[in-house]
Symmetry: C2
Subunit: 610 residues, 2 copies
């Protein structure tokens, strides 16, 4: 049965949604693919569901090719496993929490590591059961503070999440590699451009992770790349530390009054005026600013500490989170609040510094402040700084790292800038925006340990299983495909993902036009094509063409004016071409064009009959 515009539940709309900023949001709404039910929560209409199912099929086929088996977990889960892993707390406001009628704590799962771990623990117990890979395509929930851009950041969304279970690290490496390869095939088959970037594990914890990003200005993620092939999420970039400098010629550190220097710029001016360097003028990069932050540890403890970084760099606390450098993987790092500072009268606001000599440190675990002190890697041995003197209106000059002060460690908490050096030496970094469409994670033993997933090995000894976790944002991917394939007039789906293979537009008043369109529809259906037929008897040609362009099925067959000369018009919305074809040749021409579209990614129409 063809889809018929006369009865299909779809309405093309002229107005964009009030809050729409990006093309995919506007077009999927206006073309009647999705409809908003609440902020970040959408209903799938028939055409939207058809495209979604195609994307799911691609994902399912490639994940199963990688040896993963499909299961399906509830969305509504008891809180206990998430309390055991620490994520009931760690997810914070992102969790939709609720109670059942017996006052039991439940959640709408944002991701399923805990319960997959428990399921395998429940049924498996021997090294012979491993390796194992399980996946599901399932609805997830995250109570985003700012749901935006339609399907790009929803509060209810569809995700493919897979989990691997291995006996040892080599096994995990192999599982991770297999899934990463499956992801490459998935995005290739979806014709969605992507970059694979190093990432940081964040609240997930774990050992190593990469993200698949769709490069796009509408993305919320910033990543870096170099001409030499390096790519990373900004959180994952490591700063190239300068070589140690000899400090033999550097003058003794000295405290000077610095009135009226409320900003780095005024401090630099004052420094050049009062205490000029012998070799070159001071710059903002020679000032050391010390930022007080509060770290929430996985066990819930809040630690106030100080981060030192060059004064010319903005602080980027996202980069400090989840790097494992602050004690563990599950932390929040935020600016210290007034309440945090109230308990620390020893800090002189605007003039915090590490102290003037190694004998009398102020910051650092050995220092008078008692606060942990981590510094940007640019604060390297022998580097020379202007910084706060821990007295109001005074700074220290010529303070040398290693000679006059030390830190408890380094931290990545400075912004990344274009032109910074890539850590692998492949050249200066470029910054770009992208949408996260997938992530592959080596979780390691974190969840297995927290929830007691062990197996007996060959020698009957209990061993903790090592895990990986692998996500594809299925509904978000659909939005990205719409971002990538559209023009001013509407969507332009890749042929194999379109909600129908061909859109037949019957325009005109002559009964023979509609009869021919019906006959071609029937013939194309016997050839196995999915047809959308615009059979509306009284709708104007302009509206019909406009709808065809908005809906975005790439192969359009127009049965209209040309019919009196025995011709129909075959359009290809993907390349903008069109050609008159004799009615007798129309079916073959349509089949050829459609099949060529599938062949672009190595598929055929039967690939989707599964």
């Amino acid at each position: 049965m063809p889809l018929r515009m006369s009865s299909l539940f779809v309405r093309s709309l002229k107005e964009d949604p009030a809050d729409a900023e990006v093309a995919s949001h506007k077009l999927l709404h206006r073309a009647g693919y999705i409809r908003r039910s609440a902020p970040g929560i959408y209903t799938w209409l028939p055409l939207g569901l058809a495209v979604l199912r195609r994307i799911e099929t691609v994902v399912r086929q490639e994940i199963e090719r990688a040896g993963s088996q499909e299961v399906h977990f509830p969305a509504l889960l008891p809180a206990e496993p998430y309390k055991a892993s620490g994520r009931w707390e760690a997810f914070g406001d992102l969790l939709f929490e609720l109670k059942d009628r017996r006052e039991g704590d439940y959640l709408l799962a944002p991701t399923h590591e805990e319960v997959f771990t428990l399921l395998v623990k429940d049924l498996y117990g021997s090294y012979k059961d491993l390796p194992l890979s399980l996946y599901q395509i399932q609805t997830k929930y995250r109570d985003e503070a700012r749901p935006r851009a339609g399907l790009l950041r929803g509060r209810e969304f569809i995700m493919k999440d897979a989990y691997s279970f291995d006996l040892d690290d080599e096994g995990l490496d192999a599982s991770y590699h297999a899934m990463r390869e499956a992801y490459v095939r998935i995005y290739d088959r979806l014709r969605l451009p992507y970059v694979i970037v190093e990432a940081t594990p964040g609240a997930m914890g774990g050992a190593g992770t990469e993200e698949f990003l769709y490069p796009s200005a509408v993305g919320e993620d910033t990543y870096v790349r170099t001409a030499g092939g390096y790519a990373a999420n900004v959180e994952a970039v490591t700063t190239v530390a300068p070589e140690p400098v000899a400090w033999t010629d550097t003058p003794q550190a000295h405290i000077e009054p610095t009135p009226d220097t409320p900003t780095i710029a005024t401090l630099v001016d004052a420094a050049n005026a009062q205490q000029p360097r012998e070799d070159r003028p001071w710059t903002a990069a020679d000032t050391l600013k010390n930022v007080v932050v509060a770290v929430t540890h996985a066990n819930g403890e809040r630690e106030v500490m100080v981060i030192g970084l060059p004064g010319d760099r903005d602080v980027d606390l996202d980069r400090a989170e989840g790097t494992g450098r602050l004690g563990d993987g599950e932390i929040a790092v935020e600016p210290a609040t007034e309440a945090d500072l109230a308990g620390l009268p020893q800090l002189v606001k605007g003039y915090i510094g590490p102290g003037i000599s190694l004998e009398e440190p102020f910051l650092g675990l050995e220092g008078a402040s008692g606060l942990r002190y981590l510094v940007d890697p640019r604060i390297a041995d022998g580097t020379r700084w202007v910084t706060g003197a821990n007295q109001h209106g005074h700074h220290v000059f010529d303070l040398v790292f290693g000679r006059d002060f030390v830190a408890d460690g380094t931290i990545e908490a400075s912004e990344i800038r274009p032109g910074d050096e890539a850590p692998d030496g492949s050249g200066p970094l470029e910054l770009a925006r992208g949408v996260e469409i997938g992530q592959v994670f080596k979780l390691g033993r974190k969840y297995a340990e927290a929830l007691g997933l062990t197996v007996l090995d060959e020698n009957g000894k209990s061993r903790v299983v090592t895990m990986g976790s692998y996500g594809v944002g299925v509904s978000r991917v659909m939005a990205c495909i719409a971002e990538e394939y559209h023009d001013d007039r509407g969507l332009i789906w890749p042929q194999h993902l379109a909600p129908a293979d061909v859109h037949i537009v019957a325009t005109g008043k002559d009964a023979s036009i509609f009869e021919t369109a019906e006959a071609l529809t029937a013939e194309l259906e016997t050839r196995g094509l999915r047809v959308l037929l615009d059979d509306r008897p009284k709708t104007s040609p302009g509206v019909k063409f406009g709808d065809a362009e908005l809906l975005g099925i790439p192969t359009v067959l127009v049965v209209g004016r040309g019919l009196k000369d025995g011709n129909v018009e075959l359009r290809n919305r993907a390349d903008g071409t069109s050609a008159d074809v004799a009615v007798a040749d129309a079916v073959a021409a349509v089949v050829d064009q459609v099949d060529a579209g599938y062949a672009l990614v190595g598929d055929s129409r039967t690939t989707y009959l599964v």
Copy 2:
């Protein structure tokens, strides 16, 4: 790729779940089809998911054949539409409610009438857009007080819900009929026995409804049927009222002391001893008991009222609910509580009666008690009763309905008993148990009115749309199929719904056995069959055969001992037969048996490639 027992994520278990009472729960658990995540909440394992998908395909194909279009709604919905319809209150504790981070009220939808209504209101506005039918297969949530029996009554479950939209009652009748026919086809294709019974609308509201019940002793629903073809849910049975009786010969009503008559039986004995009837002895059916109940109306008001019924009948308040006789369709009826009674000192516990004469009524809106009074239809004109005299230790005798007391109306609130007359005159009722597997509803204009769904008619006049709602409990249906098709040793799936077409069991030590099994697997796969191969090298034949019986794929091919004679054994778990087949003929024999299984319901294997 075949499923292989050596790597398939399944474990057959020896133990039933602790709380399991019914076969489907035990077997789906023990065979590794589902796994409990929380009370009434299950995870689908690979084999369970495979069967579920088959059932979904049958449902989808038949619903679409009836002209319905698939959409997909969120499970997480804002509360407002449900507040507007009154169901936020009416569902009570059944609703899973939650708040988002902005303190907005949300729910996990138990059913979707409200939002389908709003969606159509959102996009449609003309009579030309109708009729319309939409459906989804989606996860629903109900916080059942006593989730039980595995998938039979879950708190998270999969439902197909469809909604029809029509301009007028004739349209609704046609839509209802089309969907009812689709349901007949669905359950026929699923090979699930069913009865169609009249039902009451309950909290849904609406005009007419029928239920599809799977007849089974494990069912929670009681229904009635007659040899003459009548069938109804007990809630929907109407009592056949007796013909009016002349009261000319009935003695005057009189109050008598009746000490020591705490039960109906002792009252009947006392009546026969003290006040014998002239014609026959008094029986329990001659006593009139008056039960105080509390009715919650849709607007939230609680009304205490009295129901009168023959003393030989238990009260059945479920029958009083949702019949529309108590003021509206959205009510709860429960026994009055101590708190309700505390405010009504005029009621003498154990001796409540309607009063002794029409001039001085006690019950009824005109009576001294001020309480509404509804009676069982058996309390007909001229019937003669013994009942409470509204004084401690006293009853009234020879109280005649119509002569000495009246009521505000009748109510169906008595239990139905085997042998009661069917309302259509088709004979005595039989009682039976069943599982509700589907329901078709004429909702009428209730939701459209509450939420403002109107269209303009041919004359440009606004008209309220009339709706129907149609549900199939998809996951529950799977449990019912397991109930219907199993034996002591395990499941026996209908061939076309089985998770694989054939289960090949390779047993023995000879390498040629496994090589032959692999070769037959490959050959059957090229013929398009889905194969589950038990390739476990060291598992005993007993375990393999036990697993094959438990898992329940009806076609089993054993490659074992007989191979030295060139034979394999083809078993049919459905009819218990088995036969030796030459290896060379095995593929053809398997294909024949499998295809015969599909053909039983008119399907072929390609029916499921969609």
